[in-house]
């Protein structure tokens, strides 16, 4: 069974292999079985043989044989057939005879023609005589003899000598067939062949289809090759343009930009601005986080961010101005960060407390007093600086600060007095009560002052308690810590001014951090601080223990404050490389 299939496949392969061959050389195939039925049209030497034409109209070759002969020699029909055309062509008079099997012979350049169209002729029958003068393909007189198979010019020798089909068998895939196997392939000698059995229309159709397929494939290949070449050309052009752009524009621009930034980076003010901007960015991010996490007012946060960023830039530039030698980017950044953080913390703590206790401050009239104090302080500092410059040509910051503080205090007092006199505040009520009761003189004044101080003390205690309790209740512990830190920094500044010591960044930061830490201590143990911690021991709850509790709490607080303060001072001094002490 397997061998049978192999034989069948071999047959199919034979058919497929023969199909294009048959399309290419149908005459040879046909001539094989036409051999023996034709004879030469005249006796003579072949002066020019058959050459296959290269063009579709016979150009580039010689479609026949030139048989030398004398003029007037008789021309015979090469085989049995029918004259299908007689006439004049540019190369002379011509006779065409159709033979069985699709064979046609042509005799050219005749002088006399003895047949006419439709005449049936037999092989060897004279059809005319040779003129042999007008056909210039050979120099001597000759008969031009053509043969066609199915319209395709073939070498006329195949008519007389035949064509062995053994040459085709060489194309068949040779397989060792087992003995006894039935061959499906027909015998080449007995069978006219697969191609001969195919009708002419089908052949033409197949030929056309194959030609079309070839053309399409050729076109497709040409298109693909053209497309590929075009794409490659375009890719090369794009690559060349990109290389030129990179080497001509981008690379030099980047190098110039890099050189510019490298040159600019050598300037310490540029470094300072960059450090200040980086610190400002960090401050803004921190403020934004505080606004989101701690519920700080958006307005307060915006003001804190702006002032913090400005403080960062100012601190960085001041550092660059003050350090022409030994400028350090990291130190500048840290200083800017600290300055910005201090400014932002001040604003946020003040703003948060103002927002939280605004109503209370409003009720107490503190906001109005603060406004008056601020304006008076500003005016006082303005006058002091102006007069100092006008009179002495110099401006002293310490004097300006003192003038500001004195002016602010005076303004607050003036505002309180003015408002009290006008609006019957508690002070006026007390004074009126004293006057109304007729208590005049030193006794009355002393009593009034005692009541006033006592009332102030109550007011301050109430304020502090309100601040602490509300801070805890609202969960704004961070605001309280900022407040305590700011308070510590402010106290440090006042102490420095009073003792004529320089105000340094490390000292201010240490004071701020110490104040914040002490704020944490104060908020611990249910907002009772160290006292709350001691109260957990039963010994400190009553009697002597209660008395000792306040002493122990004071000592612990002072020791803690001292230790924390010293620790922060040492750390910040090392960090900022500052010498001296506060």
């Amino acid at each position: 069974m397997l061998h049978r299939h192999r034989a069948l496949a071999a047959t199919l392969l034979l058919a497929i292999a023969l199909l294009p061959l048959a399309l290419a050389v149908p005459a040879e195939h046909a001539g094989a079985h036409a051999a023996g039925h034709y004879e030469w049209p005249l006796e003579g030497r072949v002066t020019r043989g058959f050459t296959k034409p290269t063009g579709p109209y016979g150009e580039g070759g010689h479609q026949g044989l030139d048989i030398a002969c004398a003029s007037g020699a008789a021309v015979r029909s090469a085989g049995d057939g029918t004259v299908d055309w007689v006439g004049e062509v540019p190369r002379g008079r011509c006779v065409s005879i159709s033979h069985p099997g699709g064979v046609r012979t042509v005799y050219l350049d005749l002088d006399r023609i003895d047949v006419c169209r439709g005449t049936r002729v037999a092989a060897g029958q004279t059809i005319g005589t040779v003129l042999g003068g007008r056909d210039v393909s050979s120099p001597e007189p000759h008969l031009h003899f053509d043969a066609y198979m199915n319209g395709v010019p073939v070498d006329p020798h195949v008519l007389f000598e035949g064509l062995s089909t053994d040459s085709f068998i060489r194309l068949i895939p040779v397989t060792a067939e087992p003995p006894g196997a039935v061959s499906a392939s027909p015998s080449s000698k007995d069978d006219p062949g697969l191609w001969a059995r195919v009708p002419r229309g089908v052949k033409a159709l197949a030929s056309g289809a194959v030609d079309s397929l070839k053309g399409a494939l050729r076109l497709l290949a040409a298109g693909g090759i053209g497309f590929g070449r075009g794409a490659a050309h375009n890719a090369r052009w794009v690559a060349r343009q990109a290389t030129a752009l990179w080497s001509g524009s981008i690379c030099p621009s980047m190098r110039a930009t890099g050189r510019f930034f490298a040159g600019a980076w050598r300037n310490r003010f540029v470094k300072a601005v960059v450090a200040g901007l980086a610190a400002a960015l960090a401050i803004v991010i921190l403020v934004a986080l505080a606004v989101v996490a701690l519920g700080v007012s958006l307005l307060v946060g915006a003001i804190a961010a702006v002032l913090g960023a400005v403080a960062c830039l100012v601190a960085a530039i001041v550092y660059a101005v003050c350090h022409p030698n030994g400028f350090g980017f990291a130190t500048c950044f840290l200083r800017s960060l600290c300055a910005g953080g201090l400014a932002a913390g001040l604003v946020m703590s003040g703003g948060s407390l103002t927002t939280a206790f605004g109503a209370g401050w409003y009720e107490l009239g503190i906001l109005g007093t603060l406004k008056g104090a601020l304006l008076s302080g500003c005016y006082s500092a303005l006058f002091e600086a102006g007069t100092s410059y006008l009179f002495t040509g110099a401006v002293h910051l310490q004097k300006i600060l003192v003038a500001f503080c004195v002016g602010a205090f005076s303004g607050a007092v003036a505002r309180t007095l003015l408002k009290g006199i006008r609006s019957s505040t508690r002070l006026v009520e007390i004074l009126s009560f004293c006057v109304g009761e007729g208590q005049a003189g030193l006794a009355g004044a002393g009593q009034t002052l005692a009541v006033l101080f006592d009332d102030s003390a109550v007011l301050m205690r109430g304020f502090i308690v309100t601040v602490r309790a509300t801070a805890v209740r609202l969960g704004v512990k961070a605001a309280y810590l900022c407040f305590s830190g700011t308070l510590g920094a402010g106290i440090n500044a006042v102490v420095c001014l009073a003792t004529r010591k320089p105000i340094t960044v490390s000292g201010m930061l240490a004071a701020f951090c110490t104040g914040a830490v002490m704020g944490v201590v104060a908020l611990s143990f249910d907002v009772r601080g160290i006292g709350g911690m001691l109260e957990r021991l039963s010994f400190f709850r009553e009697g002597v223990g209660e008395r000792l509790k306040s002493i122990a709490a004071t000592l612990i607080n002072k020791s803690l404050h001292k230790a924390v303060s010293n620790g922060f001072k040492g750390t910040f001094k090392k960090l900022f490389k500052e010498e001296g002490s506060e």
Binding site: L299, I303, G351, T354, T355, G358, A359, W361, Y362, E363, L364, G365, L367, G368, T369, L370, K371, G372, L374, L375, S376, G377, C378, Y379, S380, A381, L382, F383, E384, A385, G386, T387, Y389, G393, A394, V395, H396, L397, Q398, K399, I400, V402, A403, F404, C405, V406, G407, A408, F409, S410, G411, V413, A414, R415, L418, K419, R422, S423, T425
Partner: protein
Amino acid sequence: MTRLNRSDGATPTRDARSEAKQLFVMIAMGGPGLAIWVWGLKQMQWAGHATVPGVLCALLGGLLVLACGCYHYLKDYSGPGKARGIVAFLLVTVVPATLGVLFVRLFVRG
């Protein structure tokens, strides 16, 4: 009841938020104004004479402080009793400022 008493708790015409806002506006104008004023004067001092940037900075800072005062006056002291408001404003601001300058001149040596 005059407008002078706006910061008083008995006057319901102004709430704490607007009062705090006024305070912040005054801080934002007065603080930088004073700093620029002093910095401009320092510039003039360092240069030995009145340089253009120093003068401009000092003028700008002084104008900011004066604007802060005008803002405070308009918000708290302007009203029907104009003369009384002006007197009260001067009493609250100019007199304490003068006191501060005198204090520095008399008691602080530098």
